[in-house]
Symmetry: D2
Subunit: 357 residues, 4 copies
């Protein structure tokens, strides 16, 4: 089959992928810099596959519609940007507890508050530690190209249904707006599979299905928590994804996810032209986080430099991975500002080589 | 002056403290296990001090009323329990960015989801890492007695106004329901101080005040972020509070906050009767977190055992503090179940002494 | 073609008719005694025709989704019962002003307030005089059989699209729950007609379409009002529907709509056995109201007796029709209670024959 | 005591009256042309009397807060303009059924829909026939001067508490914005009267009070309806208020409420200079409506001309009053346009004198 290549904006590519993966329903509310997703789906989805696309009353309505529709065993998606995702935290905790599959997308903008509409990675903690209440985990994918904006939708649904767990695609306003050539996967069938856990209506052949996150008895609630924690451990064993670029001989390794990882690659190249052995470690899943891989790599290195578009969030996970073996440094930009390769190079020299020239 | 001692439930004591500290307004929505706060205030507050007490339409309405009223420079409070606090995450991020003082209270119940109404510490990450979006921090106080439920209200407003930052009192359903003798501080005046940053109406004498968290220009948003981060560093320098119990000669130190710290004290006593030198480190502020104090203490110890009513959250901060110097172990209970001293003792023996008998 | 006869509940028959008429979308929120409509559609609609069926966040969300979807030129429906319809009054006024076609259904229950779940006609005024603000009119159809519950859905969409006006089917809890044999019309195609007034997206071939009910300039707003009033006058000329039963020789005519008209027929029969010449006038459209037909009939009569399940609402329209020519009496029951033929007979005798025996 | 005269805008005068009458709480949401009420109260009320003034989340929240606070036996008020009042219809029906006293204010703007912000009387039907569901009635006061905007607040609370019924002040955008000299009544005490029907908390001395509008048993709901209807009949007997100006010898009488009645007075003067005996009948209460007074007056007249800022609403009540005795004509303006005395004079001549010159 011939490859289908297309020049697309990140947000539109993600929306196109949602249609092609056979999504059954999208519920969302507009917010910059991701409104193109809703707009694209509104125009394209229903006529092509019958996919329901609904602008809900609010982000709260959206996430609760996701809860309901996911409970029917359907492929459902919502997308928003930082403040909108904050509004969904209660619902996300419910869905995680009820173990329902769905794909959520956060096209992060600079915060806190209404902040700016420029790109940011300021929602890392919210995404991986749990912005909602209670001990739950999302599987968090961090695309760094428009191609991955497409691929992670497909991967997202595979993981969501495999583990019956919400998957969050953690991207940012720059990736959402950026145009790149993407290879699109062929249109997939919307399935009518009836899952045993889904509330599809009681028939003679099956038991009544109840989906809830309310378990008043502590024993029952403890049991559910133990089950969830066991599942998260398995996810940590099986689903870690990452990329190492020129790390074999590296003395200094830049750690970055998403868009920033691409800038780090450029910075590493600049560094190598100056004789500095610099590599890049890019977590693709930020939960589960590649703690062991990062720890093992540390054995023959001088130090890690974590680069983020925030005040320093993932750096805590890098430190937890390394556990004191080698220094873990941090450089970040905030307010919607993207760091440049030169800034990163400067930080490498300053922190690891001695006073930068 | 004679001390005023009273036997009170934690929730009621906290409500009484809110009246006495001269709170101007309370906005909230009922949820177990903290509805007594709203009920107590409804009955007592208005007639005694003119304090406005309002049951809002929802938790979202509550936090936005807090945003508005805090912007007027008033002493305002909302309280809720886990799912209700998740609903407030957008608003909390706005308030933190706008640098407004207020006191929020989370009487944590077992999650995730609707969970159980029993006590839990499952919202630690949400509280200290930021459940909302963007880089912001709450000052988080963790009372471990009904007395501290009272004292932290007073301390909370002092810190909130000193730093113009929201303060979260992170407590739990057991402390809220527990009756203990408390010493109440005397009724304070409600003040009519006009703060220069507050939106109290433009007069001839003063400039127009604008409170917002929206700053479209990245430069401006970066500036705000740098200012916030600088403030958080200062808070980390000045406001750390903690308690060390029998740590001088301790080889093993239990780390716990809130209610669990009391159980740890009992466990430590049991351990000492068995000849094990065990102490307790209780962070009172969990943000700012006593990283240095914990690191320094580690020099002459065998290991830390973090005890939490969750799947392991604060333990990450303990590990970050220790940075590999000594082992950091964890024991936790979930689903609203409170660990017993015996379980903790068993864990000490198992993890540090060798196979428990 | 063979007739398709089926024994069905009123609510389900109406839902089935919505599918068969080619409805594109249903938005609603459950409330007794009409929740079967949402339930039936949820089970049946999407798989048969791709019709979107959505349980919205509330009645307010429902009516605003109706506003949006009707603006796209789609066949859309919402249903509710009395309190739920009250919540929609703002939205209904917007839709009427924006001249959008849609079918609304009120399965009336006894009010005011939450009232009872038993049948009532207490929402007549709200339906025909305008429960919302401003001078607007709904076309209001009042079925009196399960068959008409079906037929009025088809008729409703014809009128709604012919006049670009919301149509209200005013029925009640008894008709909704009653089982009768109905003849169903065959499945109609969902159309893809692009209406010039609909917001279907600007293309090269067509002008931008704007749908709004906001017109700040009084001149413009007056023009819109004059246009609406002209339309309502035409509707009053062309669309009046009613039924007269044994009125040719009648000296006393019972006026009733909906379910009560059937009870009146029985009462008229009883009266005739007693030698009283009694007929029944049943308005099928209550807006437009058959004022002239009722006035003309009055010429050779002794009096009208209006029978309603309320405190006397349509009776005002009967009086306006008759304008003093002959007496207009009223008998009604409230609180969800349905009058019996005997009660009505008694009222006839009491009011027109002299003291009843 | 010296009279307190002040030049005030209608909206502000009404707000000032709310403070002086000893209102306990105001809940509202801003909408043109009545936002000055909320603004004035925000600035003035709390400091002067401790009156709670709260901008709620929406009009729905406002009316439900009114429901709750009125249930405590407090003097409560909300105000809005047409679309906002439509949003309150469910709540108003609940409050009417639960028989709670409160004062609601509709500063009517031109509709339907969002319409215009100019004045209108398009909400007459909604106000007097019941925009909400079920058989209920509001006592509706129609001020025609800024002075009456003040006086009707006082009268409103007297009637609301006397009859335990919501009172609606039906005014318009022109009266709200108009400045006139008013005489203010002196500040009244906020009372702490504990009403036997109010939910003020069960004590040893009193029975539990339950306020509800839900009565599932039809018998009970019928009983409540009969009680309400009986009350409305008594209100119709006791509370009718109206003004007749130069009607003694009038052959033609203009009927108008609110602002329009003043324009009618001017039109009547113009008519008299032309030799036409014209008077003005101004209902002050539009429910209860002065049916009998209008009927009796008709005996020696040629005809009524109803003048309204709408498409013809009160004219139906005038016709019901007259019941065919004499002609009842109508002239109206819509879209926020106020009729001029000349237009009215022209209509008098055209309709009653023969072709106007």
């Amino acid at each position: 089959m011939k490859k289908e290549l297309k020049l697309m904006k990140g947000n539109e590519a993600l929306a196109e992928a949602a249609i092609r993966v056979g999504c059954d329903a999208y519920f969302g509310y507009p917010i910059t810099p991701q409104s193109e997703i809703l707009e694209y789906l509104t125009k394209e989805a229903f006529n092509r596959t019958g996919m329901v696309v609904l602008q809900a009353e609010s982000e709260i309505a959206s996430i609760n519609m996701i809860y309901g529709a996911a409970g029917c065993g359907k492929k459902v998606m919502t997308t928003s940007s930082s403040p909108g995702i904050s509004l969904m935290q209660e619902g996300i905790s419910y869905i995680a507890c009820a173990e329902l599959p769905c794909v959520l997308v956060n096209v992060v903008r600079g915060g806190p508050g209404l902040g700016t509409i420029q790109p940011s990675q300021g929602d890392y903690f919210q995404s991986v530690k749990g912005g909602g209440h209670g001990d739950y985990r999302l599987i968090v994918l961090a695309p760094s190209t428009v191609q991955e904006m497409v691929d992670h939708v497909k991967l997202g649904y595979e993981l969501a249904f495999k583990w019956r767990n919400p998957v969050l695609i953690l991207t940012d306003g720059a990736l959402g707006q950026m145009m790149e050539k993407v290879e699109l996967f062929p249109q997939m069938e919307r399935t009518n599979e009836i899952f045993p856990w889904a509330t599809t209506g009681k028939t003679k052949e099956r038991e009544r299905t109840v989906i809830t996150s309310l378990h008043i008895q502590p024993d029952k609630m403890q049991e559910i928590n133990l089950h969830l924690q066991k599942k998260y451990k398995e996810i940590e064993k099986e689903e870690i994804r990452y990329e190492m670029i020129n790390c074999d001989d590296a003395e200094i390794v830049l750690v970055a996810f998403g868009l920033v990882a691409r800038i780090c690659q450029k910075a590493a190249q600049l560094a190598r032209t100056k004789g500095l052995k610099v590599g890049v470690f890019r977590p693709i899943t930020v939960f589960p986080f590649p703690y062991n891989e990062m720890k093992n790599l540390a054995d023959n290195m001088k130090g890690y430099l974590t680069v983020e578009m925030n005040a320093g969030q993932m750096v805590e996970d890098v430190k937890l991975a390394v556990n004191g073996k080698i220094p873990v440094e941090f450089i970040g930009r905030m307010g919607g500002i993207v760091p440049t390769p030169e800034e990163i190079l400067y930080a490498i020299e300053e922190k690891f080589v001695g006073a930068a020239v």
